[in-house]
Structures are given as C-alpha cells and as structure tokens.
Amino acid sequence: MRQTYGKLLPGMKLSDLAGKLIVIEGTDGAGRTTQINMLKPWLEQLGHAVLDTGMTRSPLAGDGIRRAKEGNNLGRVTQSLFYATDFIDRLENEIAPALRAGFVVLTDRYIFSLMARAHVRGVDPGWIKAIYSVALQPDAVFYLRVGIEELIPRVVFSRGFDYWESGMDLFPRLDMYESYCNYQKALLAEFDRLSEQYKFDTIDASAEPRTVFSLLQERILKVLDPNHHRPPEPVNNMDQEKWPSAGSHGEESASATESYVAKLVFRPFVASLRHAKGSNGNGNGHSWVHGER
C-alpha cells in the first residue's frame, strides 16, 4: 500500500491509490519539462492515462504565487508556505484522485525542490520536512542532474537571468550572474544531499535530451511493470519521426503528437476529476500543460 512520509491528511485514503506516481526532479534548466513533454505522449501511446502536474499549477495558489513573486518581496517562510499550499492543493485535488483512477502521474518537481529551495534560504530543514510529512511517497524519483558549468549556458543563453532563479532574494549585493552561480551551486549541493537521503534515481542530464529520454523510458517501464513484461503495442501506428525531436522543447510539438485516443478520452476525464469534486471552476485543459512561470 502507498505510504506518506509520516502523517496522513484528513480524508486521504491510502488503500486505493493504485496508479503510479513518478517524480522528475532537478534544478532549473535540467530539462525536466522537455522530458515530460516527451514522456507523456509516449506513455499514452502505451495505453496509460497520464496526468502531468508541476509547481504553481494549482487553481488555488498558482496565480497568487506568481503575483507575489512579481513584487520581489516574498519572504522565505511565506514563500515556503505559499508553495506548500500550492502543492497540497494539487496533491489532494489532482494527484490523489488521478492515482485513485489508476493514472500514471508525472510530476515536474515534487517536495524535494521545495525542500531544497527552503534549505538554501536558511529555513529549518526539520520544519519543512514535518510540513511535507503528509506527502505521498512516489514510486520513483528521477533526478536529472546537470553540473553548474553546463547549466549556465543552457539557462542564461536561452532565456536570460530571472530574479528568483538567480536567488536574488538571497544575494541582493551580488550581480545576477554571481548570484545565479552561488544560488544554483547551493541548490545542487542540496539536491545531492536529498538524493542520498531519499534514494533518488540519478540520471546524468548533461547528455542529449534523446539519450536522457531513452534512459527514462527504460526505467519507467520497470516502475510500471516490475516483471519486465513488454507492455502492449500502441493501438495506432504513430510514426516515430513525428515524436518531438531531441531539439524541440516546445509544448506545441508535444501536444501535436498526442494520440487521438488520449485527447478524446483521457484529457476530458482528467478534467472531470476536478469537476466531480465540485471544488472549482477551472475545467479548461490548459492548467494541465503550463509549466511554472
């Protein structure tokens, strides 16, 4: 039976969470989103219903966090708790219901990124750990690891420096480049430490995206089918070449190759999970695909 990290939320029944919870972790620029955009259509081809989720995508707190970050005056305790609110909203209203319905849940970051960010900001690790003691233990955590030297050109040459990604709230006296290096190095050290503690499956993400993807496919198959049986062939013969190539990072190319079946059956069903809870009006499929902004 699925376990939490120690405490149980009211109303969370662990016995019927039959799906698989697969976590993709890593620092900014490690290629998590690119990989998830390839993994999702691939898993759907194999006949799995897939939910993908990630930080700040909750209908409750996502917009609030984005607004708070615009002002650049979000304190570290407030920040940690705002992200916890976002996480628990998705855990209760998206992740748990999807697992209950037998979905494969692909999550772009999990409690570990949140712990790492809090730790480097000097927040008591025991405090943050106790808050996330209510989180569900995943079936696998794939840690996409990229060294700092590799990370800098990837992030900086593609989209420039971002205040929060550079940890400017921590090093206001440094320029953005120096702050970025210090912050990302500290994060990497935290991730390495967490990796030991929580037994991450580490993947060298400095390799080509296609190579990383193959490694992930192999390991995810083992998670989904521990007996190593070949899963059934996809129902429609999708051309391999139509898959997002190693160089394409866009969401458009990923969604364009999603199978007809996935679009018609799985997507509306996922959306209906929330409607069934009657909890909010965010039924448009968009919230499922947007990354953290």
């Binding site: 009211p10 002002g71 609110t85 008591d124």
Partner: protein, 251 residues
C-alpha cells in the same frame, strides 16, 4: 557563508550570522525583542476585538508606538484566501496552509521587525486561532503546531472565555447569515448553518480550553461587562510595559 547549514533554530535569522541568534520562538518563556506583543483570542462573539480596540486607544494615549495586525490581512496572500473561500476550494489542509502563509507574511514583514524596532504590536487572533480551527477541522494537532513554529511568542495572550450559547446568541443577533467556512459548513456537520456553527464552535472552544495550560493563555471572563474586562486587560498590559519604548512626540 555556509549555505548547507543544518543549524536547527527555526526559520529566522540563520542567514545573518553576525547577529546573535534569536531565542526559539515557541519554546522560550517569551520573546527577547524590545517591543511588546499583545494578542487576543476567543471564539466568534467573545468580544475580543472590542477589548483590543479599547486597549489600542489607551496605549496610544499613553504615548506608545502601537501597530495593529489583523488575522488574514496580508496584501500578498489575502486574495488567494478569498478565492479559495468564495469558490469553496479549501480543504482542511489548504485552509490551514493558506492561513499560515498569510500569518508568515505578516510575521516576516511587520510583526517581527516591529518588535525589534520596539513597537507595541497588537494582533486580533494569533496562532491559537489556527490551532483551534484547524484541529476542529480534523488536522493533526502536532502538525499544525509545528507549522507555526516560526511565530513569535506573545508577551501576553489574552483568551476571552465565553460560554458557547452566549457567543452564538451575540453572533446570530448581529448577522443576517453565517459564512460557509465560518460556520464549518465544509465539514458536513449539519445542513443548517446555525446548527453547524454550534457544533463547529463547540469543537473550537474545546481546543481553546485545552490550550490555556499548554500555552499559558491569560483567561479573561468575557461574560463580565465590557468596562470591567477592559480594566483587567489594561492592568495586565501595564504590568508588561516596564521599560517599553515610548514615542518622543506624544499624540
């Protein structure tokens, strides 16, 4: 600077190694800052806000720098709380977390720096409100206490004790209708808001009573006339104001 520091001293101050470390907030007898922190607690209809506003006016007239902070008022967070309540999206866990986020923002931006600056800080509701409500909603008692470990321990925490029926009488007389979460309607205790409110407030009252000894709350009999309660409140506040900073220019 050692970024991978593992010092366990609560979330504050670890990044300012040149300054002395603050006391552990919840466990010490009280905070060590030059300011004073007076907070009021009690179930809805206990009259605590009235008492705090009278204390506020008195402190100002005495020349103290007084700042008031209300539950659920962080400009950064309150829109999210409002959205969650309006759309009934909040579960006991997210209800608890969003309120702690609001409280954290007020602690980081106003309560803590103001206490360091020597202000008299007044709070209408404090962590004990969260402890009472969240546990009444089914959250784990220890988990919620842990969540608020970053809070500064008040100089005095006034608890306005009132029998359930008195409070319900005051609230229902003053309002046309009860709000969804205020009445605990999210818990499905009863379809009737008044009945649900009664059960929910009863649970909250039980939690408050349990906290009187646990946190050393100062109990005020809220069935006494307003004036008599205020005399007590001012006496207790007075005895905790020795050497407190006064404004040079009195209002």
């Amino acid at each position: 600077m050692d970024l991978s520091s593992n010092i366990r001293i609560g979330p504050f101050e670890i990044f300012l190694p040149t300054q002395p470390l603050p006391p552990e907030p919840q466990r010490g007898p009280s905070h060590d800052y030059p300011g004073r922190l007076f907070i009021v607690e009690g179930i809805d209809g206990s009259g605590k806000s009235t008492q705090l506003s009278l204390l506020h006016k008195w402190l100002e007239s005495r020349g103290y720098g007084v700042v008031f902070s209300e539950w659920n008022s962080s400009p950064l967070v309150k829109d999210t709380t409002k959205l969650g309540k309006k759309k009934k999206m909040l579960t006991p866990a997210t209800f608890s977390l969003i309120h702690s986020t609001d409280f954290a923002d007020r602690t980081e931006k106003s309560i803590l720096p103001l206490l360091k600056a020597g202000a008299v800080v007044l709070c209408d509701r404090y962590v004990y409100t969260a402890f009472a409500r969240d546990v009444a909603r089914g959250m784990d008692r220890q988990w919620v206490r842990h969540l608020y470990e970053f809070a500064v321990k008040p100089t005095v925490a006034f608890y306005f004790r009132v029998p359930l029926e008195t409070a319900i009488g005051r609230i229902t007389a003053a309002r046309d209708c009860l709000k969804y979460y205020e009445a605990g309607m999210d818990l499905g205790l009863s379809d009737d808001p008044i009945q649900s409110f009664r059960i929910f407030q009863g649970r909250i009252l039980d939690e408050y009573e349990r906290m009187v000894d646990e946190f050393g709350l100062t109990v005020i009999d809220a069935t006494l006339p307003v004036e008599e309660q205020q005399v007590l409140v001012r006496q207790i506040a007075q005895s905790n104001l020795q050497n407190a900073t006064e404004l040079r220019i009195k209002p």
